[in-house]
Symmetry: C2
């Protein structure tokens, strides 16, 4: 299981540099604290006030398939997708979850349980490099209904049902993805957590059968644990709701109301030159990526490499823009079989090793969503790396 070491931060400025210069910085998790500054600048616009007697019931709207979803949240979700143009919401059910983590499991459960008897376990696959948490999510309860099937490109069963998880832009490597197995007995779950204009150009408006989104990576509100699924088929949506009912009897109403408020402000300001979150977020991500590429390019001997992303016309911004993913998929270029994660840990930078993502130890996934001071320290520590004799990395 994953470790939770984390840079201990102090609000006491005099301690700050000392603490940080000693501490391990955690870029393993994508804790999206980079955007706090924007929400501070927005002042009280997103403040929520909840009275003691409000939101007490399990039920939000008993006439809806997703009876535990607050109507305000549903409206806010539909409104933001309409404003950004990054997903079709018409003729789709919305299911809210305790993060998209719970929803991904609900979707796998739903699709598996709707299979005919005798076709279990269903293989769950994703093209490498993939989000390492998919492995944990599909294995930890040791379900008889589904099992982790590994890299989708190596999925060889000629027959039999499978579920392919497609993350686009991909976590960890930021590339745009499509399904790869493409067989009649397959179902596809699209994880579009990062398909927002501060990370990537919005080139089209997906209308897949199941699309997952998360509040965490959109606005940075990971602590709220809010995700949503856009689901075309009513039976699939109902089974997902059943899963969430048995798993946790619904989803925090406080978080739902706060998410609704924040999403509405994002929609209202999305065309503003001064207040748009997406403009702020894209500038922040571009700035970080420019700095990171500069450090990587200044290293002698081409020690590190980063993926290159093509520019594309973004329908939201109305012009060609680049991709500035939430994670850097960093590779150690000139030393085969090197353990990049260990090398970075010597510099007190904790990242996620590529082998956990179905790739190799030459790669790591490093979060680009940390706080500014942590990001500066990351650049500093990366710049200070000099490669010793190759053997010592093996």
């Amino acid at each position: 299981m994953v470790g939770f070491e984390y840079a201990k931060k102090s609000d006491n400025a005099s301690n700050k540099n000392n603490l940080l210069s000693d501490a391990v910085i955690n870029l393993d998790h994508g804790d999206p604290t980079a955007f706090e500054e924007y929400w501070r600048k927005m002042g009280d616009r997103c403040t929520v006030v909840i009275k003691g007697w409000e939101l007490m019931s399990y039920f939000s709207d008993v006439n809806k398939v997703c009876w535990f979803m607050e109507p305000e949240l549903e409206n806010a979700i539909r409104g933001l997708h309409a404003a950004v143009g990054n997903a079709a919401t018409e003729e789709r059910y919305i299911v809210v979850g305790t993060g998209s983590t719970q929803l991904c499991q609900a979707a796998v459960h739903s699709l598996s349980s709707l299979r005919p008897c005798g076709t279990h376990p269903v293989s769950v696959v994703a093209a490498a490099p993939y989000y390492s948490t998919y492995v944990e999510e599909t294995t930890y309860v040791r379900s008889e209904m589904y099992r982790w099937g590994g890299d989708a490109r190596r999925y060889e069963k000629e027959e039999g049902p499978y579920i392919e998880l497609v993350t686009s832009p991909n976590n960890p490597d930021g590339t745009m993805r499509e399904e790869v197995v493409k067989r009649p007995q397959g179902k596809v779950i699209y994880d579009l957590a990062y398909y927002w204009p501060h990370f990537t150009p919005i080139t089209h408006r997906p209308h897949h059968d199941i699309m997952l989104f998360t509040f965490s990576k959109l606005s940075g509100h990971a602590g709220s644990r809010i995700g949503w699924a856009l689901v075309k088929d009513k039976e699939v949506a109902k089974k997902m709701v059943e899963y969430i009912m048995v798993n946790s009897i619904g989803v925090s109403k406080e978080s739902q109301m706060r998410a609704a408020k924040v999403l509405n402000v994002m929609t209202e300001t999305c065309r503003s030159h001064s207040d748009s979150f997406f403009l702020y977020g894209r500038d922040k991500m571009k700035n970080r990526w420019d700095k990171l590429r500069e450090v990587v390019e200044q290293q002698s001997d081409d020690i590190f490499t980063l993926p290159k992303y093509p520019e594309a016309f973004c329908n939201f911004f109305g012009k060609p823009i680049g991709s500035y993913p939430a994670f850097a998929w960093l590779a150690i270029g000139c030393h085969e079989e090197s353990d990049l994660g260990s090398l970075l840990m010597k510099q007190k930078v904790l990242t996620r090793s590529g082998n956990r993502c179905g790739s190799d130890k030459n790669h790591v996934r490093a979060s680009m969503l940390c706080r500014d001071d942590v990001f500066s320290l990351f650049l500093h520590r990366l710049a200070s790396i000099t490669i010793p004799a190759t053997d010592s990395l093996h």
Copy 2:
């Protein structure tokens, strides 16, 4: 799976009686809206205000086993248990969950995964009548690690590991419970959701290895989805935290902060003659039970029966008090093999049939925690029942 029909209520007073007189009232779920009135009376004392930039991180305290638990909530939980005397918290880890539903599954998962290889699946049992949701919780993912084993009193395996769920006071029948299997290879999870002085006398201070509590049934804030476990063994607590991490990457921070505020107010006011929630809650529950018993006793032919609960000295109130459980375990007395659930549905009262709780159709579980107007309607409809020829109930 469970239905979600619910009395459609209108704020328009002129519609109210019409709507309610037509609508099915749902006493199947224990939606604890009975206590809203108390929280209204408390005015702004429990109001929470959350700014847009607060509570954004996944992490609450990385030095704690339960790294996603807000320290304010932990302090509030320990404070309330100390004030009420209903559970030992010293030398125990606290794990917060998305309701005690998620925690019960986390505990079953943890205890199962700590078993030696080759001893799976572990049987999960509970003495009938039991909380019907335990069946769903232990079967829906079809885990290879554990399986539902039915009524603990009929658990006959001489050897092999098992987990016994003990709910005390019991859901659905309100009785005080202890473990019944009592074999060396067993582990016990105590669900103490209703062990609070508005429901039952606090006669002792339990110090079991795993004790579950829920905000929903304590204060009535079911929409917040907050539960907590008091766990003696560090490895068990760590495995529960791992489960919740993979299941939902933690628990809503907004709900945690609100729960902390509400629990603190409950602690501060618990000795007040005018403001104590427990005094208010006990009076409300006693009043409802007195009315329900009156209706049942006034019925001719002893149609219905209710359990009787002994008075006991309550350490919290400092005097003998009765039990006023959150559910009425209603039986149809004089007609063997009758379907009480169907009889009540003819009167548009939805309850949970006893056969879902490991009992029989002569019994139903009816929530005592609905709103006042719904409760009045329940009494009215119950009083109006006359038993037709016995055959028609079969």
